[in-house]
Amino acid sequence: MKKFPHPLKIARLIVATAFGLTLTLIFLVPGSAISTVLSPILTPLQLVPSIVRLTGGAVIVLAGLIPVLLLTILMGRVYCSTVCPLGILQDLVIRFRRQFPGRRWFRYNTPPPLFHYSVFSLTVVLALSGSFLLLNLLEPFSTYGRVVSTVGGPMAVALNNAAAFLLNRLGLPLLVHLPWRVADLVAITIPALVIVAIGAMAFWRGRLFCNTLCPAGALLGILSRVSIFRITVDHERCNECGHCERVCKAECIHSASKTVDFAACVGCFNCIDACPTVGLSFEPIWHRDPRTRTNDGRRSVLMTLIAPVTGRLAVDSTIAPRALTYDESRRLAVAPPGAASTERFTGLCTACHLCVSACPTQVLYPSVLEYGLEGLFQPRMNYTASYCNFDCTVCGDVCPTGALQALPQAEKKLTQLGKAYFVREDCIVVTKKTDCGACSEHCPTKAVKMIPEGKVLLPVVTDTLCIGCGACEHACPTKPRKAIYVIPSAVHGKAQKPDTTPVQQGKQELEEFPF
């Protein structure tokens, strides 16, 4: 009869299931309230986003960060098997791998920590120098979120819409159609390939990614070297049968020498159950029998600082308003509200795409090269797809790294992401001499006004009132180029408050019918 799993393993499975499901949900359904409600609870526990956010001075994330660090000091990298969505995903791959006879077991093969720390150092140095490229490609929360958002999102929408269509046909309007957000092909394929590669690594050698490339794994690995509870081998009981070694997905147990590389251990607790002699336990260091030991020998490496290989990979585009054509402006990105400036934003965003998923109007899309290579996949405003809702602050509210600051609504309404630019010769009012005014209709501040020109009304932009929300650009019906578009502001400005003098003084109620 199969024996009941160790309580720690059961706890791990329950917590991992809860985090796995909720962290998937916040990315999966576009514009869903689930993201807005759950994100502030879940994301402070995500290590790298919270550290990035802390560098911006948001001490609130300590509420998540401190428990994670304390937990690691207490019991090692259990984070990697419970809170990290990419870790949970790899565990699913590893579970699948077990179905293959030749791939059923692992063997001791802890990757050299020097390599891991070198990658980690390079990642940190690049990030400090302003390029988040490597961090964003390796950071587990963002790597996971990106794929769920850009690949899983459209699939969820497709399923939902198909079901909505069928139910509607049956006279059961239980589901509503969801809007499509299909990102640029590059923004879909590269994150997908990255996750396939990580999955392949997991299929090949378990948690290899976590012990070679993952920045969170490196950081927690350092901490776990001093952790209190550890996987401990009882040298008396252990008969070097190797059962523990072959179930260890981190490949960190060496049965023959009865040692565990605890810095590489992801705290799955599979080994405890695998041991036929009850020779493995999870114990505080003071309980350790002098004859038992874990391998702490590899502590040599720390922070080999890689020479600043960096240099910013793309040239800073200083934006000269009015000098850009429509096509040029398309190649630059409007940074979302709360970014403050493109430079600040690209230096803090890990491209997790939580805002992309949560945005109610679905105006946020992953960039490709619009911010330069270093800003790969960081979200930008896509005014062809939609526009920014005037009263909405969701993106800043859910951002786990603080790259988008949570702006109070009143401040957001005056935050100038860019400025609308009107191209007279492309406007329908000029080319067809008929009224249109879609731009001005949608403008929430009336920065775009219509003034008479002959018998028709022509748009005029008041720069100082424009907040760059893109409503005008989105609504403009000219094709193929919009006759009004937003030119991004590299540094977000502050718009003037609109005039609020009452439109009519004195008595307002109708006294006599004018007909």
Binding site: T434, A475, P477, T500
Partner: protein
Amino acid sequence: MAGGMRLEAAGKTPDLVAVKGGEAEAMFRRGIAALGGMRAFVKPNSKVVIKPNIGWDVPPERAGNTNPKLIAEIIKQCKESGAKEVTVFDHTCDNWSRCYRTSGIEAAVREAGGTMAPGHAPAYYQEVKLGTGKSLTSVKEHEAILAADVFINVPILKSHSSTRLTIAMKNLMGNVWDRGYWHANDLHQCIADYAGYRKPTLNVVDAYAVMKRNGPRGVSVSDVVTMKAQLLSTDIVAIDAAGAKLLGLDPSDVRHIELAAARGVGTMELDKLAIERISL
């Protein structure tokens, strides 16, 4: 409808009813009574669709959307007249779920026993041919309109940056999916073309709070005056002409009113109409 016996007993039903000086619900009760009561429009077991203006993510005091109290009162009366179902929708401009919520209309409809239908995706629209349109020959029209026996058009009177004002005919733009086509192909003509094709059973113009500038979205409450008026008519051109006057515009300044009158959709010459004026 206790007030149903009051004014129309004298004889002929008026072409246009104008009410002022009351709350939205009270004005509607008096106005509809003057037109012969709700039962004149809503037969037992019929499917009713109500099309307010829910275009914008703004609260009721901004007068960017139809007054939710008016919508609730209309639903109530439809129900009392035996309507089988009352559906309310709009193809909003701002994000649909935010518009439905912020406008207060979703809550009001639910409370009054109506159904809010979504209109934010092309799946809810079906292609129809207009036949006679000059600029507009076909549209994708909302399924709720196509399925309804009774269509009640309930716009709010507002200034409008592209069409000068928006009242009953302009409100019908929210019946269709591709509004961009209208904007790009002689907006006024398209509005008149569609008005010639889809005739509401009844039009009710909400002029309780009226956005006099910066329409159709408005910038702040300072754009709004509390006019406390309401118009009711089956003639969409007449009601727009009267609404224009309430905003201080001459109906002939608004091209789609002229175009629709010219093609015989209704009459814009108010002095030729039987208008019942009610002050509360």
